[in-house]
Subunit: 275 residues, 2 copies
């Protein structure tokens, strides 16, 4: 059965690619122009899943997306790691000299900044979505403007690739998560990773104590990130990912941590994509 | 004595503001167009200090700046917390209706995106520096274009403030650090905070053990961030900030952690700005 999936961006975007790879091409996507838009469509029931980039090997965690998941009590049900390669796309016949402007998402522009240093005649303009620019160039036959997007987008919209892999840091891996509206009663089969959030007072050793519990219960830590609570200067929130072999070990750790930390919350339990 | 300080951006930028506040107006600044530029000027000896934004209450850690400090073995010698308020600046007589484009740094554009939803006629264009746009508008009397910058920049360049505090999240605190070329023999007086980096194998409990040492040595953790090592999938790097009351406690923890973790490195020892 095809399930409607909210993606940030349009067909040909990296989020679209993840939707296809995660759901084995069995994905009806609904194009949204922002992460907030994907969450809105999820909450209204227009879609069953939303795909969200959550962290990047260059930029670190995408904190605003953590906040969206947390604030709307969404449930992470899966993850996917994608190696992001940016390419410069334009109409057939264009050259680096004929391009006057590159329109793309600010993050893509940032990641390809160094490449454009050699082309000072090219102006960088912010756009809402990487693939959308490619689509517009293609449909409206816009000359002199290039897009930064994937090879898939080039193929989908029939554009030439003027330059391949133009991002500064060549290995640019992004972790995406698949989220649902809320924590359903999931089948407990094959779950071996969890994303947790909790708060601790700024008291010496409080984090060490929690990590000891995790370690004693045989959980492996794959990510940890502290975030100061803006309105409570001496309190910290922690986003933590753990992997485990036996769900019972995780359950035991969960019940202890819940007593020790404040506002303990499971953002999702799912299958580790890195096994 | 006035010391030359490299700042990202020009006079009127937030980095300039931090330079003035940290050095009590006793600061000769050298304007650089990128963070890489500030490091270059530091390494060449053109400047003695560089100011760098390092983390933000909205976006989290600025990982590329951590990488710059780490890769060039720079030394953090101080920190400063600034509440970033974005304002829309233009020539006198302009109105929201007469503005066609806003030019600013991609981060500033991102942080003010929601405000511009109500003004769909305004095009957002990426620029290198927030204050530089203000300067150009002022010097070249450019009509129809607005800048996103601080109140200080408005004053410095004689521009009108069309809208105040236009960033989506009103409390927008950024932590800046002051860095030097290398770890000099500092005076040990008043040091009560350190930034550390170390690596651990993906082994259960390895981080908990390190945190136990910190806790036993009376160190307080104020920040922790894991970062997967791209080329060593099962190894993690950690950026950690600790505070302490007695430097001897820190020295003790330091000597133990150095033995337990791999590639243990002190990014800087300095005075906590939050006391």
């Amino acid at each position: 059965m095809k399930k409607p999936i909210a993606i940030q961006g349009i067909k040909g975007s990296f989020h679209h690619e993840v939707a296809q790879l995660y759901f084995n091409d069995n994905a009806d996507v609904i194009e949204c122009m922002s992460f907030d838009g994907t969450v809105e469509s999820l909450l209204k029931g227009d879609t069953d899943f939303s795909i969200m980039a959550l962290e990047n090997s260059i930029a670190g965690s995408i904190i605003p997306n953590y906040a969206l998941i947390d604030n709307h009590n969404l449930n992470i049900v899966g993850e996917y790691y994608l190696d992001i390669q940016h390419n410069l796309l334009a109409l057939q016949g264009e050259t680096m000299a004929s391009i006057r402007e590159v329109h793309s998402h600010p993050m893509a522009l940032l990641q390809c900044k160094v490449f454009f240093k050699d082309f000072p005649h090219i102006k960088l303009v912010e756009a809402k979505d990487t693939a959308d620019v490619a689509k517009q160039i293609s449909e409206q036959k816009i000359k002199g403007i290039a897009a930064i997007a994937s090879q898939k987008a080039a193929k989908l919209y029939g554009l030439d690739i003027l330059a391949k892999s133009i991002q500064t840091i060549k290995h640019n891996e992004t972790r995406f998560v698949i989220v649902e509206r809320e924590n359903n009663d999931l089948e407990r089969k094959g779950l071996n990773k969890a994303s947790l959030k909790f708060e601790l007072d700024h008291k010496r050793g409080s984090l060490a104590t929690i990590l000891n519990v995790m370690s004693d219960c045989k959980l492996n830590l794959t990510k940890i990130q502290s975030l100061p609570k803006i309105d409570s200067p001496w309190k910290y929130a922690f986003f933590v990912d753990v992997t485990f072999e036996d769900y019972k070990d995780y359950e035991k750790a969960h019940s202890i941590m819940q007593l020790m930390a404040q506002n303990f919350k499971v953002l999702g339990e799912y299958k580790n994509a890195r096994l």
